[in-house]
């Protein structure tokens, strides 16, 4: 129980019991001042409940405090004693209720949180028309699901409903945060609960690959148990999952939104085999090709919840170079890697929106590596969730060829309507100021490969977009970057917070910058899409090496002849 509720009940019981002798004394020593003591429980209750907030299971205690007011209006000793005794009993009743129905005690009101967040998002979300969002339909669809979560008093169910709601937008900037699980450990615990709630299982392996025109491979395979007995190992081609094709099993399951949010269809497709590998009942029947190429079938029992293996595989596939943000690492005698984990340099630069010191630092490093004879630069932007647009401009100016380059265009903000202005006839957004940056070409035209993955979002998307048109720049990865580029705002209620795109960026034609529309295709393509093949499985899961980096080095060799 919460401190204030405990304080309230203890005080109420003590005060009520003290009212019994007070009722007797008031007859002996007659004074109008005795009335005051019969107001005390109500006032104490109101003040504490005011600070602690109303709690329905504490209702008996509140009622108890109110009935002692009878002693204020009436001087009857009998009435005063009986109401005081009743108040003490009601206080104890509240303790009994709070302790015995813990799931309902101070339970969050998930529906209320949704009801408060939803209209704010509806008012400020700038991509609703672009993505074909039907707000009324969404509200009708999800509000009952939050009501179900309320009935069940289930934080995991609430989280799962938010994940599905968020998924409807196909926007990397739409994200739900449960403030009770903001740190990584608590979030992992909550996510594991959500996976369990949705029935996600672990069958001793994960799947990755290409479902449309290639194979799906077993990865992160358990080295004992049924899966090992069947001879399935990293790289084994899995042809069907529980009687379904891998694509069917990965797309027709309840894990949409729960197992990741993708702003682009291609990125979503890439992880469909992984999603298939947590779908099943107590066991799944898999068909696979053995080492001789013969098709075989095995029944794999469920080993437990699916979250741990799913995340392990996901993190391995999405790995980047493990050094600090804005760190440098020599990869080989010709190549150096510049790691950008986020578009945030330091607080002073962010506060003043001045990235001169960052530029000087990068330029000094580039000069050092040029002097050391480095020819190739890898900019590793994998898992870069974004940050400052001003930082992107500064960064772009370091690497872009000399001259003025277009970045993006702000939407035209109308102060009178507190929203972005639209063309009255077409409904299209009006353009505000164009934004440019001046290239300094500090790498002097040498080859640059930018590594991205589906977690390279927002300002990382911007950087990829502004750089990919230059002759010396190649963008590479298993998938393209996230494809979510608008500025972010948020709405909060209780312990829930929802971020969403609220600051509009357009391209030179006045279309939405990068973000996918209802076609679910973002405008941030990739130059080299690395296939997830046997080679990738071996490098990532057997040799524990960075496959994308290996591919980048091969590409440099090809470029340099």
């Amino acid at each position: 129980m919460e401190t204030l509720d405990i304080v309230l009940i203890i005080l109420e019981i003590i005060l009520s019991l003290m009212l019994i002798p007070a009722a007797k004394l008031s007859k002996k020593y007659v004074s109008s001042k005795w009335r005051i003591v019969f107001v005390l429980p109500s006032v104490v209750c109101m003040v504490i409940a005011g600070f602690a907030g109303f709690e329905k299971l504490m209702l008996p205690a509140y009622i108890g405090a109110v009935i002692t007011l009878a002693g204020f209006f009436s001087t009857s000793e009998k009435l005063r004693i009986s109401t005081a005794a009743a108040a003490a009993v009601l206080g104890l009743t509240a303790v009994f209720l709070c302790v015995n129905v813990p799931e309902a005690y101070r339970a969050r009101n998930f529906t209320k949180e949704f009801d408060e967040i939803f209209p704010v998002m509806k008012k400020y979300y700038v991509l609703a028309e672009h993505k074909g969002i039907d707000w009324d339909e969404l509200y009708e669809k999800y509000r009952p699901q939050f009501a179900e979560a309320d009935k069940a008093h289930s934080k995991a169910m609430n989280y799962a409903v938010w994940c599905r709601f968020v998924y409807e937008f196909h926007d990397g900037h739409v994200g739900y945060i449960d403030k009770t699980a903001m740190d990584k450990d608590n979030e992992a615990v909550l996510m594991a609960e959500v996976f369990d709630l949705m029935g996600a299982g672990d069958y001793g392996l994960s799947l990755m690959g290409n479902t449309t025109d290639g194979n799906s491979y077993a990865v992160n395979v358990e080295d004992s148990g049924a899966v090992a007995d069947a001879g399935i190992h990293n790289g084994t081609v899995i042809t069907s999952w529980d009687g379904m094709s891998i694509h069917q099993a990965g797309s027709e399951n309840p894990f949409e939104g729960i197992s990741g949010m993708f702003a682009d269809k291609d990125n979503e497709e890439f992880f469909i085999p992984l999603r298939a590998s947590i779908y099943g009942g107590d066991s799944v029947t898999v068909t696979y090709l053995d080492d001789n190429g013969s098709e075989k079938t095995a029944e794999l029992p469920r080993l437990g919840g699916g979250y741990a293996r799913y995340m392990e595989t996901y993190e391995n596939v999405c790995r980047g170079v493990e050094i600090e943000n804005f760190g440098w690492q020599e990869i080989d005698e010709d190549t150096v890697c510049f790691r950008l984990k986020s578009m945030e340099f330091d607080t002073a630069s962010a506060k003043n929106e001045n990235y001169d010191s960052m530029k000087h630092e990068i330029i000094a490093k580039l000069d050092e590596y040029k002097a050391a004879g480095k020819k190739n630069l890898v900019i590793d932007m994998r898992n870069n969730g974004g940050g400052s647009g001003q930082l992107v401009q500064a960064l772009g100016s370091v690497f872009a060829p000399e001259g003025t380059h277009y970045y993006a265009t702000d939407g035209y903000w109308d102060d009178n309507t507190h929203s972005y202005a639209r063309d009255p006839e077409t409904g299209a957004y009006l353009k505000g100021e164009d934004c440019y940056f001046i290239g300094e070409d500090r790498w002097e035209g040498r080859p640059i490969i930018i590594l991205v993955n589906s977690n390279s979002a927002s300002a990382a998307d911007h950087f990829t977009m502004i750089m990919r048109g230059f002759d010396n720049v190649t963008v590479m990865g298993f998938t393209e970057s996230n494809g979510s580029a608008q500025g972010v705002g948020a709405a909060e209620s209780g312990k829930s917070m929802l971020s969403f795109s609220s600051c509009l960026l357009l391209d030179p034609d006045g279309n939405v910058f990068i973000d996918s529309g209802s076609d679910y295709e973002s405008g941030n393509d990739i130059d080299i899409r690395v296939p997830f093949d046997e080679n990738a499985v071996r490098t990532l899961f057997d040799e524990d090496r960075d496959h994308i980096m290996d591919m980048a080095l091969e590409e440099f060799q090809r470029m340099n002849g």
Partner: protein, 261 residues
């Protein structure tokens, strides 16, 4: 009752202590305006931004005024036996009680709004209102403040009639507030529920700011979201009416049977 109210107002207008307190608080309000101007040194600002972002601070100061004012109005006539003379000249206890509560409400509400609006209105003569908040939205927000303000005045009047010593009411209020700032709680309802007048007032004076930004230099637009959930508006009005009536009645019931020295 009207005669008593008029006589209280007559005496009220000649009490220099309330005037001094009011002027000091007014100076505090204008110092908030100076703080705001200082914080925006070199940047463009508007009075709509000040009105919305400093409403809570100004309201907290003005709230102190309405509590002091109510304590003063409701208890000043017990010390010099004025209330006794009123009884002896045939006025009912209800008249005596209601007149003091009514004067507290009138002077308290007027004082509260004079305090929170003076720097905004004065500022508008020098700087523009701007576009951060629509005037109509801000007027509605100010209007909503009337309910908890009246409620706090009636509640304070109740305590004043019981204690009859303004200093005790003020110190008790201060101690209660301090106590709850040190009690840990995980409940997000703290300080925002309608159960207490002060928390209700605090919630109504917080106007959520929303910043929209762009890539080009200085592309940043500040707006304030004045939208209040309908349920909160309804509960504010209902809670204020119930609490006001209840505490008015409790106060009167006590005063009716109380011994006046």
């Amino acid at each position: 009752m009207m005669k008593i109210a008029r006589s209280i107002l007559y005496g009220y207008g000649r009490q220099s202590i309330i005037r001094v307190i009011f002027i000091v608080m007014l100076l505090l309000m204008f110092s908030e305006l100076l703080v705001f101007i200082q914080a925006n040194d070199g940047n463009a600002f508007t009075m709509s931004e000040f009105a919305a972002s400093y409403l809570q601070t100004m309201s907290t100061i003005a709230e102190m005024f309405i509590v002091i004012n109510t304590c003063w109005v409701c208890t000043m006539d017990f010390g010099d036996k004025t209330a006794n003379y009123e009884l002896m000249t045939g006025h009912t206890r209800l008249d005596i009680y209601a007149a003091r509560v009514a004067v507290s409400v009138i002077t308290g509400v007027c004082g509260y709004f004079l305090l929170i609006l003076s720097p905004v209105i004065a500022g508008c003569f020098i700087w523009s209102w701007g576009s951060c908040v629509y005037v109509s939205d801000m007027i509605f927000r100010w209007f909503m403040l009337i309910f908890p303000v009246v409620r706090i005045i009636v509640e304070t009047a109740f305590f004043s009639f019981i204690v009859r010593k303004p200093a005790v009411v003020l110190i008790a209020g201060f101690i209660i507030n301090e106590f709850f700032t040190i009690v840990p709680t995980n409940n997000e309802m703290v300080y925002t529920s309608c159960i207490l007048g002060t928390s209700n007032l605090a919630k109504l004076t917080i106007v959520d700011a929303r910043t929209t930004y762009g890539l080009s230099d200085g592309a940043m637009w500040l707006t304030f979201d004045t939208m209040l959930p309908k349920s909160y508006i309804a509960s504010t009005v209902i809670a204020a009416l119930i609490a006001s009536v209840l505490f008015f009645y409790l106060g009167y019931t006590f005063f009716r049977y109380d011994d006046i020295d």
